[in-house]
Amino acid sequence: MTSAPAPARATIAVQLRGITKRFPGVVANRDIDIAVRAGTVHAIVGENGAGKSTLMKILYGMQKPDEGSIEVDGRPVNFSSPADAIAAGIGMVHQHFMLADNLTVLENVVLGAEPGGFGRLDFRAARRRIMEISDSYGLDVQPDRLLEELGVGDRQRVEILKVLYRGARILILDEPTAVLVPQEVDELFGNLQELKSEGITILFISHKLDEVLAVADEITVVRRGTTVATVLPADVTARRLAELMVGGELPSPETRESTVRPEVVLDVRGLTVRAEEGRPVVDDVSLTIHAGEVLGVAGVEGNGQAELVDAIIGLRPATGTVRLGDRDLTDLNTRRRREAGIGFIPEDRQRQGLLLEAPLWENRILGHQSQRPNVTGPWIDRAGARADTERIVREYDVRTPGIDVAASALSGGNQQKLIVGREMSGDPVLLLAAHPTRGVDVGAQAQIWDALRTARAAGLAVLLISADLDELIGLSDTIEVILRGRMVGTADPRTVTPEELGSAMTGAGGTAEPAGPDRAGAPRHAAGTVAPADGAGSGRHAAGGGDAVPPDSGPGADPDLDTPLPGRQGPGLTGTGTTGTGDLANDPDVRGEERP
């Protein structure tokens, strides 16, 4: 709870004192103290689950704090709704855009603050004002387009416009770069500088430490619901920040011996999945996974990984072939594929992995309704399922008072552990793990990694999709990079660096450099950012490109990445991603301090 030494004469735009907020079962914020100076970019960093989003909701009037006070421009305020916050000049740009697809840009922007008298909506005045703001800040929006036609970067600009339209002087940006490609991030930072020069205060929430160090004037670290430190970027390194966020040494998956066996478990050839418009989201993908091998697929979200997994498990129609061992799965439905021995840890556990209102032992059955010990013939074997659930709870350390509790009562980490235990229990030969430690606390993450490693040693083949580069590098035997639905490169996790991986993932090509011997031994965690997009773990993400790699021969033949990517910058991202900022990774201040 240290506070930064603020220059005596600067005005404080926002002062939070002793903010505390409790929810049933958890204390989200405890005794938060932050002072944000006017006209600065103040960053708030912390792991997921540290309480950042709750704090922002309080500041924006969507929640009320149980204790503590807020002052805006020196005056104490009490927000009962976002309208109050807006009136006080606070505007929020959410991480998950708050936009209505079926309405136009104009309608989305003016909602709640429409111009016009007698209840009439003055479209012309609205259009005029929007274009004014758009032109002065270079936001380039078209008011009459339907929102669903817009891409991610455009949507974010609409969000920013929304906020400026309401005369906000204090902007809260919640993970704004999570969905942007590198040059869009640069544009955004440019916009922020302009806004700053107009005296606007910016609160920047992020977990991308390199960006934060680049753009912020002050940084506050939040951990476990409370403020841990407020520092100036000049005084810290990314690694120090990461340690502050996690509160100690960063756990990381270690190297180990290879457990890869020669038998091919999964053989995918020419897999193509098309979107409704006909565009291929998975484009002619082929891959093989051997027994005892973990194949990690690295890629910015929205490049086809989710669809790839869906196609392999049979949730999406696809062309191409999928073989499991010597069985051809191509024409089988999801149930049959699962019965053939595929386990599936879905990306969105609440929507796809669990029946939230059902007890744990029934959730054990989910996905395995046709297998023992859950069933005998057409009947559900309650005793068998219950006993097995107890076993899973024991073996995977699922913290729960009992197996009759509804799944929704468990924390994210324990839910995930249950799912992992369940999927491993069918003795699968192949495990599809999509973001297996997303939104999971550090302890559970370590346990899940352990479980995966043990199973791998016993011969399990794993397809691992993750946005957490540390997880990918630490767990995988081979890494493939996916970009725009295609496999564009292979990497050896023992030698690749997060920057290289990151640049391949974002398609940041660049000047080719020969891979020298010094490169091969480069430390894995140079210039790392910490914490995955939604995860609470301490994985790291690509810090961005800059270190290009030369073209080379076949996959896996060398320590560095395969083909460099074609010149065009930036894939069309549609989801949250883990992009880096090209310039920053080369910044010696950011990289130089690292130690292996």
Binding site: S53, K57, Y60, M62, Q63, S81, P82, A83, I86, M92, H94, Q95, H96, M98, L99, A100, D101, N102, L103, E107, N108, V110, L111, G112, A113, E114, G116, G119, R120, L121, L146, E149, K162, A275, E276, E277
Partner: protein
Amino acid sequence: MTATGLVESMTQASTAAGRRRGIRWPLWLLGIAGMLVLVSIVRLITGANDITSSGTTGAALRLAVPIGVAGLGGLWSERSGVVNIGLEGQLILGTWFGAWGAYEFGPWWGVIVGIIGGALGGLVLAIATVTFGVDHIVAGVAITILGGGITRFLSALIFVNTPGGGVTQSPSLPRISTVTLPGSGALRTLEEKHWFVVSDIAGILGGLITQVSLLTIVAVLLVPATYLLLWRTKFGLRLRSCGEAPGAAETLGVNVYRMKYTAVILSGGFAGLGGAFLSLVATNIYREGQTNGRGYIGLAAMIFGNWMPGGLALGAGIFGYTDALQLRSGGQSVHALLLLLAIVLGLLAIWSLYRGRRLRAATSVAVAAGALIWFLTTDTVPDEFVGFAPHLTTLLVLALAAQRLRPPAADGKPYRRGEAG
């Protein structure tokens, strides 16, 4: 409505492709003209002059109103994100309260009391779904049950003691005045010449302007009024945002709960108006069972209209037309329409084949053939079948039109404050 994943996946397939917000104007006019010609041809072949007579059209307009107004109620509600299956119950309340109000105080008072009755039903639905978060359909069904119960009880209490009234019906009610616009006589003469197309148009127009109840005019005006209110005012934008992205609306200071309440109460009011219309204009008596599923047909009209007032009016018109045939014991007219159905489906089959959609072509041809055979082998359609013509039409329309739909994005999803983000 869940198991909506199925519906969602199907509508998404089409919304991606059908990005235009509707079909273009010229295409619409062409379609209407084409239909007119076809109908005229069928009339001349079959001699069933009633299908475009002013009598039928007038009745069609009269019967389209309760369906359309109920549909508007559904639209208002669903645009704010609440599915109102209780429309039927609110309609029932409207019929009863409209009758009672008219009996006690006069016909226009009856309308007002009917609206209030329906609105009260809407209020109960709002409390159940918005405040308590009950599943929308479950709450709607409960309201429909309750509506029937309340009206029966009140009838037993009040109408039983009136001359001509009883547990299941009210006494005779005063009427609302009607107007006849000038030109009606001339159109009548034209119509009776039974000329190709001209007489049909005369018949249709004649029905629309002859002896039109004042309440009908009010109801028809509600359609453009709905459009203006929902798409051209602040209130309308905020309401729609609750049905599209309530989380976003809340973050911008829109009071989502209040909007939903307003929309659902209004929705009930509309249904109440429709009910009052049924008991005061379409007939002049309250009778139990009088609504006959029109609340649901109204919802179907709303779906047909893609949640837009214009399309809804068209759908209500179609359903009202079949309803009119049913009421006028139009066995012969429905029989003639069989031929029309066969022709239209035949054309659809050809077009589907041209587009390469063979399954659709095959089913169209099969149904067309069936209709044709039925037409040729009979003289008229039995009354019992005519009785469910509107309902069958509803089914067919929904089955055929279900593809290009774009319901409000958050329709039917229970919303809790603070869910944003």
